[in-house]
Subunit: 333 residues, 2 copies
Amino acid sequence: MNMTNSASTPLDRLAVQIAPELEQVSTLIRQRMASRHAPRIPEVTAHLVEAGGKRLRPMLTLSAARMLGYQGDDHVKLAATVEFIHTATLLHDDVVDESRQRRGRPTANLLWDNKSSVLVGDYLFARSFQLMTETGSLRVLDILANASATIAEGEVLQLTAAQDLRTDEDIYLQVVRGKTAALFSAATEVGGVIAGAPEDQVRALFDYGDALGIAFQIVDDLLDYGGVTATIGKNTGDDFRERKLTLPVIKAIAAGDATERAFWTRTIEAGDQRDGDLEQALAIMARHGAMQAARADALDWVGRAKAALATLPANPIRDLLDELADFVVARVA
Amino acid sequence: MNMTNSASTPLDRLAVQIAPELEQVSTLIRQRMASRHAPRIPEVTAHLVEAGGKRLRPMLTLSAARMLGYQGDDHVKLAATVEFIHTATLLHDDVVDESRQRRGRPTANLLWDNKSSVLVGDYLFARSFQLMTETGSLRVLDILANASATIAEGEVLQLTAAQDLRTDEDIYLQVVRGKTAALFSAATEVGGVIAGAPEDQVRALFDYGDALGIAFQIVDDLLDYGGVTATIGKNTGDDFRERKLTLPVIKAIAAGDATERAFWTRTIEAGDQRDGDLEQALAIMARHGAMQAARADALDWVGRAKAALATLPANPIRDLLDELADFVVARVA
């Protein structure tokens, strides 16, 4: 990784590069999450939006548009749109997963209730559609409506694929494209569309976002098991407890023998989990090099992201997006 | 009510009048509720969409467009859009209200789980935005995005207004506009917009849908207490048990004395409900003529709906929409 300033991440430096627009996005989000009639809405939204999220997705939209020379301000609306869709998804995810913590703080469904999370999520979805409609670009609307459908479809697929040992890498990829990559690729693609970029550049932006999103989610799933070194920490093993089949587990199951299969059948399919099972799961995965193999897949997707990016015109923002791709996997170095 | 055929309702006759397009809407809904990857989605949706709903909202869109001479087929897409938004709302409502029955059948959240209802609802919202985007009309997108935001805002407002005796008729009207009238008025308005109707006619269609939706919801809320005669049946009193403040209760509270107020504070605010409380609530409302007063309000909104309609060009469909407005309140004759 080529870091010009070892004290900061590529994400930090990207934020500096597009600071004024990022500030506009924050202002717009604060304005649009308001509700004249229902104060519960901004309360719940502020808890999540202002909880120190990294604003990665809106940064992708702003970067894509700026990199390709966009001069207007619709990219700010689209960046806020993307963040609203993301926030709505988080609210609903936490209800679905019955989560109690996100980013080290209690979730909205815990602080208020599931009802508020469901309905405020719906409100943010609607707000996102209002915002994107204001750009007047039917192509942008088409991209974001399709992304929203893919996200929901991926979440439903994840629901039915959990607890099912037949879930293979193809199904995993579909789930990951839905839950993560669809919004990454829509975020970069609409940046190019709003900038009026040629078709091959728009396609390259889509490919970058898609591959970056897949790499990002594989790494997230690795981190859930403590990363490649599988160090058990406070937040380790949530996916195991929720019986989600993520890439390292899928790889371990495919490589395992009958005894191991019985272990996975009991813990994941039957949900009969006992003390020491998480450690046992990690040992099985380590035996098959499942962590390293999943990390290699993530690196492969990073390579694809960078290759797509390399077809775009040279630009300081392009260089930062390139470093960002490396950075995503560096989280599990 | 001027019924040409006493055996059928105005809704039945409207369905006959627009039968071919209504069939196209059903076909489109079946096509678009499919999912290549997640079979859970059409299972859940079919349970609700094909459960014999009256398709009132899509009929409003088809009627408005046809009445004003529309010749294309985008009104079919918009009618399906409106039904998808409605269905998504029902799925999320049943989660929020923890309902176990709808239209006499077990709810999706009971048959599957809350997770499926939340995520399939999200999928249908996204599908609705895809459908409306296909019409290519930014004005239609604007109307339906605004309606979606108003619906979610109304639901959140209802959540916070429940259990709060300060909820007055103004707040009730805001909740009702959100939960019901916003989609009715959007349904009629987009029919006019897609038909290219002049502004005053589009406005009249909006006013008709708005007033019809408000009357419809007041009547629904009356029926929840057994109608004007307050006959207690199997499904009577859900709103009372859920501590929702609807129009007859609000009117009774405003007219009541200190003893009655203590009753409402205990049952609605504190949620301490005992055997005989529903009967007591009905007796208090009857004492103040709250049922009759709420019905009079509904009739007033019907009058406004019919007045708006009367400004539109004469047409057999217009006559049926006029009868439909009477019919809505005839449910609590």
